[in-house]
Structure formats: structure tokens, C-alpha cells
Subunit: 267 residues, 4 copies
Amino acid sequence: MSDGPTVRDVSDWWSTAVSRIEPDVIELRGRPIQELIGQTSFVGVIWLLLRGQPPTPGQERLLEAALVSGADHGPHAPSIAVARIAATCGVGLNNAVATGVNLLGDVHGGAGEQCMEMLAEVTSRARAGSALGHAATSVVEDWRARSKYLPGFGHRFHSVDPRREPLMNLVEAAVAEGVVDGAYLRAAKAVEHVLTEGRRKPVPINVDGCTAVVYGELGFAPPLARGLFVLSRSVGILAHAWEETGQGRRNKGPMPPTILPTYLGPV
Amino acid sequence: MSDGPTVRDVSDWWSTAVSRIEPDVIELRGRPIQELIGQTSFVGVIWLLLRGQPPTPGQERLLEAALVSGADHGPHAPSIAVARIAATCGVGLNNAVATGVNLLGDVHGGAGEQCMEMLAEVTSRARAGSALGHAATSVVEDWRARSKYLPGFGHRFHSVDPRREPLMNLVEAAVAEGVVDGAYLRAAKAVEHVLTEGRRKPVPINVDGCTAVVYGELGFAPPLARGLFVLSRSVGILAHAWEETGQGRRNKGPMPPTILPTYLGPV
Amino acid sequence: MSDGPTVRDVSDWWSTAVSRIEPDVIELRGRPIQELIGQTSFVGVIWLLLRGQPPTPGQERLLEAALVSGADHGPHAPSIAVARIAATCGVGLNNAVATGVNLLGDVHGGAGEQCMEMLAEVTSRARAGSALGHAATSVVEDWRARSKYLPGFGHRFHSVDPRREPLMNLVEAAVAEGVVDGAYLRAAKAVEHVLTEGRRKPVPINVDGCTAVVYGELGFAPPLARGLFVLSRSVGILAHAWEETGQGRRNKGPMPPTILPTYLGPV
Amino acid sequence: MSDGPTVRDVSDWWSTAVSRIEPDVIELRGRPIQELIGQTSFVGVIWLLLRGQPPTPGQERLLEAALVSGADHGPHAPSIAVARIAATCGVGLNNAVATGVNLLGDVHGGAGEQCMEMLAEVTSRARAGSALGHAATSVVEDWRARSKYLPGFGHRFHSVDPRREPLMNLVEAAVAEGVVDGAYLRAAKAVEHVLTEGRRKPVPINVDGCTAVVYGELGFAPPLARGLFVLSRSVGILAHAWEETGQGRRNKGPMPPTILPTYLGPV
């Protein structure tokens, strides 16, 4: 008589509700793959796999817009730069993309997640009875006490992020159509108001903030703001790595070899 | 008078035609981001960034179907397994996705690329005057002389890959509508015929082969078969890493701790 | 007259005190590489690059022992498992090692860093006047209020970590020889005492805790506990990835293909 | 009666001769970890894990020198640059090191491996009866027919790699002492002679070539030239990532934000 481990323990160790894969069977969230191919959009499958059910058309439209907005920000973005460098080092295109994605950490890819948490806090304080403006002011103050960076607002490069207007307009329209309820949108505007009123240099919401609004309105958990940005930015990472591959450099450094780093050490 | 490096050398070192990013300007392939958000689908932006021009609706439909087809293959797939393991180790969700993508190498994610090259060779020999069946036979022979694995055909798990029929039907329809010309489709069918005729156990085309047909018909370069699979599989990688996060394990090994690896070394 | 950026800005952007690399010159922390090769041990160079000066023989001996202790913990360790899986996917050996290292995050590789912070806090409260035992008790209580895992103590696999005794003995000896002062060692023993006294099941210090003691005694910053563990574990990761390469599997999943994950989703 | 999978299948799936890890047991290649800690050098453990037996002192000395030689090559090296960039993106130090290691691919970290193969071929032709000079000439010709880069010879930065002389001297001494037999050394010198004789600009052996000689003399398989370089370079990668962490930049791009990439696309 044995109390030892069983094969069932191994099956359970790898249990999942995402997909069922058996010989001749592929089902995503209970739906046979052959009914998805050609019927469901790629964005619809992203939603389905992450949420368990397909999106409504209005939800899908918003998610689509958010994914489009983050796709690329050129070679200044660390994620893009390192993927281009990787592409010159004799690794696969998948390794180059992975190198870029690996950098979408708390500082580079995490602002959307943090902004969702901040906006959720504004919403929660407003629901608990604060006026929305007071809730926004107090949340901003609390955040600033912990960090000099307010996630999702301001941009080191753009005075107004060009992605702000189209994304905010789409959310407005979705609220008007009853697709989403607008709580994150109102919280974001309240924060933007706090950051802009009476200032010489306003701090408008940026793409991380706008997509945080979209993902919050759509009911995604905050960590998925980062997860969805990963899917979005992977496109630009791939496009840049592929372009770099075609340029034929080998072992590309961050600058031409004739420029030497400033040496600060002992001589 | 100086012959030293200039700032322009640095600008040129990072030159790109993918996007133009300047203060308050984001353009992808010459198109302002604010005109893309809400107007262009995510798959349309994938095409735009990789190809320089937007797709036609028929092209977009095919690309969409191919991206849907590879999104997940469950925890047996190395890319999925390692992302789930990573999610239990205290790294960001981006790091978990990168870990999975990093594994889509020559063996795991490269079959589509290799299959495109093989089908291109069939097409090329047919254009040079061989009957298509002879071209397929000779290419298969040449390939088998080099490797025991024929990329894009057969599956260790499925007798017939359930993604085969819907993908092949979509390509058939696209040929009928004049969206694509059908050369890769014909080459793939010729190879499948070679591998099936008179055999006890046929070797039908699998998802790597079907997507190779799609990408070939759409005019993508072979390495982008891998690149596009990366975008597709990233979705399942993310969904599984996220599910694992919710299960709360720490430092998940590949099996329950009560099962010990067989030790083969000195004692 | 230009206020634009200069080449010097680029040089400064990449400034470093770690090494000076110019045509025909390689200096690490001010020392020509040709004087290091054959003269300095590998561990000596690790110390030199991280600290700016070479170690004393006693310091080097302790660092050497800590690096030896973490080199491998078999296929149950996530870092080892994923590197072995990676090695079957058609990526380079460097990619397989990177995949393993990528998983040494807060939960898998971060315990040493957290333990150093905890022991530093014990030391600091003791220096501020608490008896060491009280300091340890209060720090453990504070830590437990935040987390159910006490970093560096206990092991899910070993009742007493076999690396405990040799490492603690080496630190004892180094204290006796005046190589280090023993503050971290005393703090660790005080915590171990708190966790063990009067308990049915003691919670002895583990390898993360012992190496935290070593690195703390040697004056490394806490994040380098993780950094040094990365160097140490890379050895086992490489050895396992290389062994797996020789076994010839392709696309190794976490279990044999005949074992199916338990499906928990809709049917 | 069952033909299904067993727990033993799972144990065998993860079989290894590298280490035996059981409750309260850690053995590396059959040696208890408590006998290695404090007794064996870190380089000794590297050898032990990769080769199965400990090195002789002479072997260890050579391996130590090779590992020292590749530890750093400054921010121009892609592996170093991307790790520094990663360190500013809010990821763990382990993720930053993994990012650097991931780039040591065929072009960046693979030259040693390729050089070992080339030198092995010279040795093999010489053993088959060719004069060594003829063997070297013919191997160089064959290689040049396939690639414009001869692995292990010449350097884009150094006219003579400063690591050449100390490494070659150590191998000479090891041959004199009977530690190694010198076949790779003779082959490398013969190739260097072919590349230098009668040329305006000689092409001396570089660090990849010298370490390929060391690893070849020591009997390592060619892929381990890359594997060992990974261990070596990880040290510099870590030191640079750590230095960058201390400089406090966020989302460091490859150049100051005031320098814009040259845009080559449509306007």
C-alpha cells in the first residue's frame, strides 16, 4: 500500500482552465479552435483567453484602440533599442523580441498598472463619499509622498501625448453608448485637473494613463495593464528588430565605435 | 578642424523607417498615431509596421486567422510551461512572457519559417519547369537527407491538426477571391500528397505548415513566420502566466516536490 | 552658435568607472587586463569589478565558498528546469542560461537580498540599544506581520540545509581570524534561536540566509546578494542545459506527452 | 491492468547525472556539497559540474585565466549595454543580467565556439597527413568561402588584442609542463601565420581565439566555449548593471533624449 505521489498529482500540478489540449482537440476557454479561426478576431481571442468569455463589439473596439496606441515609440524606448541591438548579435528573432519584452518592467511598462491602481483608489474614495475632486487631490498627495513620479501623467518627450485625444474620445463615446460606465474616465479627468489647474506647465494624462482608463473601464485587473502593453509593444519591437536585421550590422553597440564612453574610474 | 565623430553619426546609427518620434509627434510608417487609433485594427497595425503599407481587407482577414490559430497549445508547450513557472518566481508579468517567447527557437517556433523556405523551393522548382508533384518529391527527399524532421508536417500529438481544415479553407477562399495567388497552397498540398499517398500513417500539414502557407501567400519573408508566431503565442503565454499568478504557488518546479528526478550519476 | 547636443553628451551618457576600453587598452577598475590574466582568480575579478578594489585572501575565501554553495539545486529548481526545457527548443546555450537566470526573481533568487535587509535591521536595532535577542524577536514579528515567508530560514525540502554547517563554520573562522566582524553572524544566530527555541519543528537558517551572512559580513549591498547568486547558479544552469542538450529531446514539456494537464474550464 | 503513464516516467523525464537532490542531501557529481564548500574553488566547481570530475591544478589555472579574460569589454559591447539599459527599467538585477546573457549569440558570444571547430579541423587535417601550414591555409580558404568573418582572429577595436599575449603565454607554459598537449595552440599559430605573413595589416588571434585554444586544449566541447564565455561575461554584465542602478536614470535610451534618430521613412 502506497501513499506516494500519483500521476494524477502531476496532472493537477499543471491544471488549467485556459485551454484543453488533447489528441486532435484544441479548445480555448471551451471553444474549439476550428470555430475560432476565421470567425473571431485576434483581439477577440486576446480577450477570450484572458477573460474566459468573448468581448462585446464595443468592448473589443476599445481594447483594439488601446493595443494600437502602444505599439511603437521608436529607438529611444529601451524595449525597442535592446531588441535592435539583440538582432545584430546572432540570436533568433524570438530572442530579440523576448529581450525587448523583458524590459517592460515597473518603470518602463508598469506605469499603466500603477495608474490603474491609483485611479481605482480615487474611485473608491469617491464612492466612499468624498467629492471626486477631493478624492483626486488626496490620492495625488498620498502618491507624491511615496514617489516623485505620478504614473500615467506627463511625458518626458511630449508636452501633450498625441495618443491622449483619440483614446479619451473613444472612451467618452463608449460611455455615451453604455459600453462602459465611465468611473475610470472621471477619475482620470479629476486627476488631470488637479495636475493642471493653476500650473504654468500642465501635466496631461499620457498613453499609460489613457490605456489604464480603457483597461479599468473594461474590467481588467491592474497587472494586465502591463500584460496588454506587452502584447501591444511586441509589435513595434518585432518591426524594429526585423528592420535592424536587414541593415546587416554585427554586434551593434549603443553608439558608433568611434565614440568612447567617458571613463570615471581610477587611472 | 576635426575629423571626429559627430552627433549626426549617432542619429544615423539609430536610423529607422518604422516610426518617426519627435516631441508631440508619433508617426508609424508615415501615419500619425492619432489617425490610427480607433480607425485601424490591431492586426492592421501589425501589418503596417512590418510591411510599410496597410493591408487590404482580404489580406488582413488571412493574417488575423493565422494569428488566432497559434495563440495557445497548453502547458505541454515549452513556451507556456516556462512562463507559468516564471510567474511563480517573483518576476514581472513582462518577464514571464519574455521567458516564454525566448523559447520560440528553431525547434519550437521556427518550423513555420523552415516550412516557408521548403515551400518556396517547391514553387521555385515548379516554376523552373518541374511538374509540381516531382518538385515536391525532390524537395522532400533533399530535406530528409538533411533532417529527420520535415517542418510543417505531422504532429507528435494530433493525428490531424484541428487547425488544418479551417486555415486551408480560408486560403482556398482567398485564392478564389483573388486575394492571393495560391502558389504556396499548391506547393503545400503537393508535399502533403507526397507524404500521404500509399502510407499507412499519413503525415498531414500542421499549424506551422498552414500558417507558412498563409504567410507565404501574403508575401512575408520567412523569418517573419517566426516573428508572427511570437505575436500569436504571446497571447497564450500571457493568459497562462496570469492564471498561474492567481494560483499562488511559489517557485513551481516542473513536478510536485514529492517526485524526485531519476539520478543517473556516480554514487 | 549651437545649444544642441554634443558628442560629449553621448560619451557622458555611457560613462563608467568599471572599465576603460580603448583601442589596444582593456583596464578593469584601473588595472590592465594583461596583469590580471593568470595573476588574479576568477573570484578575485568578481570582487574587483563589483567593489573597485581586489579582495584580501580571507575575503576571497569566503566569497568563493558562498559562490560554490548555490551552484545547483537540481531540476526541481525553476531556474534549472526552464534552462533544460529551453535547451530542447532550438535556441543557443546562452539563451538557455539567460532563461534560467531570468527566473531568479524576488521569490526564487531574492531571499538572500531580503535576508540581508532583515539581518541589517536586527543589527541596527541591537546597535541602538536593544538586547540582540529582543532585536531579533521584534524584527521577526515585524516581518511576519507583512509576510508568511521569513527570508533565509527554513526549507521546503531539507529539514536542515546541508550547506548550513560548512558555511556557518567558515564565517565563524573568519570572525576568529579578524577577517570579518561577525555582526551578521550574530544577528542570524539570534534569529535562528527565536525560530527554534521551544518549537516542535525548528526553522534553521538555509543557504540564502547563510550566504546573506557571508555577503553582509563582506560588506556587499543587499541587491548584490541576488547578483552574486545569479553568478553562482549560472553554473548549475549551464551544466543542466548542456546535459539536456546531449539527451536529444525536442520541445521538452514539463512532463511526458502521455500525461495530460487536469482541465478545469468549461466543457 | 493499466498501460498508462507512471510516476517513474515523470522521474525519468527529469533524470540527471549532474546532481542528486533529496531531502537533506545535495550532491554535485556524486560529491556532498558540504565537502565542496570551503574546499573547492568556484572554478573547480564549474569544471566539476561540466565535466563530472574535478580538474587538476594545472587545468584549473588555465580555465581560471580564460574566465578572467572575458569578464568585461565595456558599454560598447551589446551584452553590457543592454544590461545597463535594463537596469533602468524597473526589473530585477537578475533580469538585467539575463538580458545581457541572452545576447551572447552566434555573432556576439559564438566566435569561440566557431573558432574551436575551425582549429579542430586544422588539427584533424594535420593528423591526416597534411603539413600544419597547408592544413591551416586550406581550412582558412574553406572558411572564407562561406563567411567573411574568420572566428577568433582580428578585432574591430584592437590592433592586437591585449589579452592575446598573457593567454598564449599561459598555454605555452602549460604545454611545457605537460598539462595540455598543444595541438590547438599549434593550430592557432599556424592560422595566425597564414593571416599575417606578407600582409600589410596582420590579423592576430583575439580573445575568442585564445580562449578557444584554452578550451580546446582542456578538452571542452565547442558549445561550451560559448557556455564558459557566458559565465565569464556575466561578471561584467552584473558589475555594469549594478553601477547603472546607482546612477538613478529611468528608462535609459541608447542616447540622450535630445538626439533624434534619423528618420528614413515616408513623410
